[in-house]
Symmetry: D3
Subunit: 181 residues, 6 copies
Amino acid sequence: MFFEAGNLKKLPRTGWLLRGVSNPESIADHSYRVALITLFLADSLKENGIEIDVERALKIAILHDLAEARITDVPLTAQYYLDKGKAEKKAAMEMFIKAGSLAKEYFRLWREYEEGLSLEGRLVKFADKLEMLIQALEYEQTGFKNLDEFWSALEKLRESEFYEYFKELVEGLARLHKQKL
Amino acid sequence: MFFEAGNLKKLPRTGWLLRGVSNPESIADHSYRVALITLFLADSLKENGIEIDVERALKIAILHDLAEARITDVPLTAQYYLDKGKAEKKAAMEMFIKAGSLAKEYFRLWREYEEGLSLEGRLVKFADKLEMLIQALEYEQTGFKNLDEFWSALEKLRESEFYEYFKELVEGLARLHKQKL
Amino acid sequence: MFFEAGNLKKLPRTGWLLRGVSNPESIADHSYRVALITLFLADSLKENGIEIDVERALKIAILHDLAEARITDVPLTAQYYLDKGKAEKKAAMEMFIKAGSLAKEYFRLWREYEEGLSLEGRLVKFADKLEMLIQALEYEQTGFKNLDEFWSALEKLRESEFYEYFKELVEGLARLHKQKL
Amino acid sequence: MFFEAGNLKKLPRTGWLLRGVSNPESIADHSYRVALITLFLADSLKENGIEIDVERALKIAILHDLAEARITDVPLTAQYYLDKGKAEKKAAMEMFIKAGSLAKEYFRLWREYEEGLSLEGRLVKFADKLEMLIQALEYEQTGFKNLDEFWSALEKLRESEFYEYFKELVEGLARLHKQKL
Amino acid sequence: MFFEAGNLKKLPRTGWLLRGVSNPESIADHSYRVALITLFLADSLKENGIEIDVERALKIAILHDLAEARITDVPLTAQYYLDKGKAEKKAAMEMFIKAGSLAKEYFRLWREYEEGLSLEGRLVKFADKLEMLIQALEYEQTGFKNLDEFWSALEKLRESEFYEYFKELVEGLARLHKQKL
Amino acid sequence: MFFEAGNLKKLPRTGWLLRGVSNPESIADHSYRVALITLFLADSLKENGIEIDVERALKIAILHDLAEARITDVPLTAQYYLDKGKAEKKAAMEMFIKAGSLAKEYFRLWREYEEGLSLEGRLVKFADKLEMLIQALEYEQTGFKNLDEFWSALEKLRESEFYEYFKELVEGLARLHKQKL
């Protein structure tokens, strides 16, 4: 499984690629920062008295994109034509089986993310979107244009159950983005 | 449609990428040489007295990977989990609709390739495999390893109805590949 | 010849490179879309009652930049000092000789493009310029600047015999470019 | 801190770069797989009855290279001339301060890795070396040479307290490396 | 030493990298233009009656960044935490020792640059800053943003003893930069 | 002229590119090491009692490829079809004119290299070939193949008037190359 995870270093995030970022971050690059963000958010929530399992959240963050090692980062334009969720689910299951007795737990964690089954799974989804917007902002600050589409994710962050805790963070991003326009 | 075709320049051929070729050819790079090879093969067949519609073959070569502008080059590891053929068919149909009155013809040509419905469609499939092996050989000559898997396509070329006409070409490739091992 | 055509995948289009696009399209990338555009334009003209040999046009599109596999994409700054046309002509001739009995036809087609000897050759020249402008626009939309020079090609498109048929296409590009300024 | 962590996506791992891998993994790419490996190793140890704090281990894995966002991946050739450890320590401290009330804990975790103060810190060091060798092997399988130096890390893995649990994994790598020579 | 200098071709200038220029110039790229600029400036000064040793200036320009072959281009963010000057001094000394009887002279030249001990050393420092600003301007003209920080070097050029001779050059750059803002 | 020299950073050395090195050194990268090598060789010759003008040699090294900023690195395959020497001569002349009163001297220096008119010019030619072979060896050590052609330059080095002084250097390279085969 460690070898397969190497694919995540080689595979570009296709959303940026298709908008002309010629040498974009890898899936592993993205996953790394999602894990880092999850760490901070989970610890912050805990400090604020929310009952959250930080270990669980970190595991989900690390595993949530692993199936893309087989499926690749199928972009939105393609998801209209094929069932990415179903494909990743099957791939995740088969990859986790290699983890032996841990397989069941890992697949359960993966589903918590994919299907929003737990607080921790939903937090990683929040972190995943946040990470994407931070990256979008960085590309914009570098001079890249044509990335407006991505900012529709802002609305999803604002509707999230975690928004009240990280409002400043989210709106700070929104402000920096506006300054660039 | 011209704009969408621009995606084919940006999207890498994932087969090479996943085997460590860090800056591989684009889908458009590949499609270009498929068209060039098709041109030579079709003209050669005609010279040999085979009845073949060269125009038809060239059109198929140019259109055969166009749906990947939306679907991307989904690698073999993923095709086990999702129905690439079905997705590309639907995407091709929707892309060709933009071509107005020509839509029907183009989609028909696309299917001739995908489903092997015509001599010309099958010839482009032959050229498609040939192109991949030429590229594999070039990467091997550059020093890349780990590309053996691709050479299973040799068998498909040998079983093809066109093999007898281009035997020398196919076996020449096979010989050069062997020298590298 | 198929091996030599591989050079077109490796060689960057120097016009973009010299203006700071650090990882620009290859010559093959460009040639592919020229062929695609030619296909659409030729079929459209035919639908409009123009007598045009689509097969001929496609062959020209596929062959028109082949000599650059030996000469490379010598940029404008250099063409002032050396005779690119003459060099490509000689290189084309020697490359086509490898195509045996087809050599004569292919070289004839190549000259139809280079010297504008036929309707089909001139159409590919039109498609060649159109392709370059579409690419320029895409780079501009990505955030690249400094590409104004390329837009002088607009005038050549407007003076072309094909302008009346594809006026909407050409002016649509011009409009999108203006919005970026 | 999330913005600074973005540097880890942009910065190459200089060890590979200096040996001619022209487009190597980023620091974030590496950190991601270290976290993934840590997850598996820690869970495995726990299954084997070892008392280990998985959450702690994951946090360390995610934080262990963060200081490189300011210091960059200073290669071995440079470490002879400057005190990388001291620089990273100071940078880590200043970066973590931004994390407010969590700063103290994060810096403590960072030191557990750097100074081997805890079982979890040492496990991440083990995972860090393992990750590097997996990557070395992948580059070798791709065709890169000149990476023998890295394999001296093998000895460190063999001397580690964790070797007995992951002997098969380590020796499997060693075997695959030998086959390449 | 020639082999070690090869590192300068592989190592990116980290200042650009950290601001999002994904494929920036190498250290050798930079050093080359510093040498070229030094050549022109030194010859110009001489024509203006200034007593300057052109050979000495050129040698300094060629040698001034050589220690980075071992230390890499440690960015400003890191220099706060480690003593780059001291590290480069030691590395330079050890590299020059390989040059045998020339070692002493070369190390002396290196110090003239680093410590501003001679007119020639200070001229190369002037050329070094000039080169960086020319490159910053070129990236800005390409579309990159976020490079304002670098322009603080303008003040240093204006305070330099060489400013009166190359005022036009410096202010010309400043003007072109302003037009971009 | 400083701006035009920036092209040398952007333009790849096409010889490597055409043999599959996907991200090769730039012309400026090469020129930098030629200047460094020239510095050492010239100083060594002087130490050995040869009368040589080191300043002159360095100037030639820095200027010798400058015309490629307009002409690009036209590869051998193209030089059969076009007169590279003539083109570079004219371009060099026009570029140097911008250097005002220094133009004449610089053009003279350029010709000393191109036409081998002086000891210093011939030394830079020797350094130019040496640099290429060092680079070829480095690429071979990295794993790249297919570079044998370049080693025919070895014979030219052996026939050179400077061979007796740098025999050890040249034969050392030859030996390392043989070990790779």
